[in-house]
Subunit: 192 residues, 2 copies
């Protein structure tokens, strides 16, 4: 089946990007893992840029769905933000970086179409965060000084960076410490 192979390619490619980076793997690496020839992968994804774009757009769409799910399943800002953290934490669990954190870092050496997709991911995250932060403050579920945009920038940066640092120091606790410390200061003193 075509769809199955294409999905396999995407799954393996995603893992390789998340661990080694865009220039750290080849079509052959993917092909060997599946048990086909690299030429067959060009059938599904003519160029590596095509593969990259497909990779990020799939990732972004899946992420957008999960963000929507968080909203419907959790009414309050603290829980919503905790779930947001959990999305990143789950990725780190098997030694992977956020796909867009990795590609964002490597942007200087990537095909332009890939870069556009990556930017889109961050825009999505920030917009979601700003929304959650605004609503949460209005409902007095969380408290923070300054504008929501600054806090969203802070939070997103923190999570992306914490994944890199935690993995580089081979200590996932560092991610948890950093994320939890941030969530803590967002809570109003009354709720503590």
């Amino acid at each position: 089946m075509s769809a199955i192979t294409a999905d396999k390619v995407l799954d393996i490619a995603q893992r390789l990007v998340q661990t080694r980076g865009y220039n750290g793997f080849s079509y052959r690496d993917i092909a060997e893992e599946i048990g086909i020839k690299s030429a067959s992968i060009h059938y599904h994804f003519p160029s590596k840029a095509d593969l990259g774009v497909a990779l990020v757009s799939r990732y972004r769409e899946a992420f957008a769905e999960e963000l929507q799910d968080i909203l419907t399943r959790n009414a309050e800002a603290p829980k919503r933000l905790k779930c947001f953290v959990a999305l990143f934490r789950a990725t780190l669990r098997d030694d992977r970086l956020c796909l867009c954190g990795m590609l964002g870092a490597e942007m200087g050496g990537l095909p332009a179409p890939v870069n556009n997709e990556v930017s889109g991911f961050f825009i999505l995250c920030e917009a979601w965060l700003i929304d959650v932060l605004k609503q949460g403050r209005k409902a007095e579920e969380i408290a923070f000084r300054g504008n929501p945009q600054a806090v969203a920038d802070q939070f997103l940066s923190l999570l992306e960076g914490a994944m890199v640092v935690a993995r580089a120091m081979n200590d996932t606790d560092r991610f948890d410490r950093a994320a939890n410390a941030f969530l803590r200061v967002l809570r109003t003193p009354d709720q503590d």
Copy 2:
């Protein structure tokens, strides 16, 4: 002169790693920019892993010196932390990532000796931050809940991540917003 060429190689290689990543450039890229042949670079750095190690260890030593300078030139924690931010901000200014932020992300596809150097950089930063935070709290120059380690993790992660996100969104203001917002909450209310 030998030293001059070796330095040129390191300077160019560093810029290329910071913008494209370790696997995003070749000896030839460096050679062409200097105006020599790639074989000549192998004379100075026999393997790419050697180059990588030299790159990070030079970066780390320079960074350590700057951190020491900050301590001697600034007595109070808020100023020290502001200077720490400025080190990262200066890197971002010409569209570069922290060398170790980039390599930390790509760790899964790097030679082991390079990885060790990268870990060393983060250990250095964390130790410095923890020290500054402890002293600053004791002197009541800054205020924070929880242990200094968690705040240091948070801060370092925030800066590394903010560089990636800001560059990916082509908006360095995002870095400033995130960093300043963090510095703000560390100040005691009385000082505001």
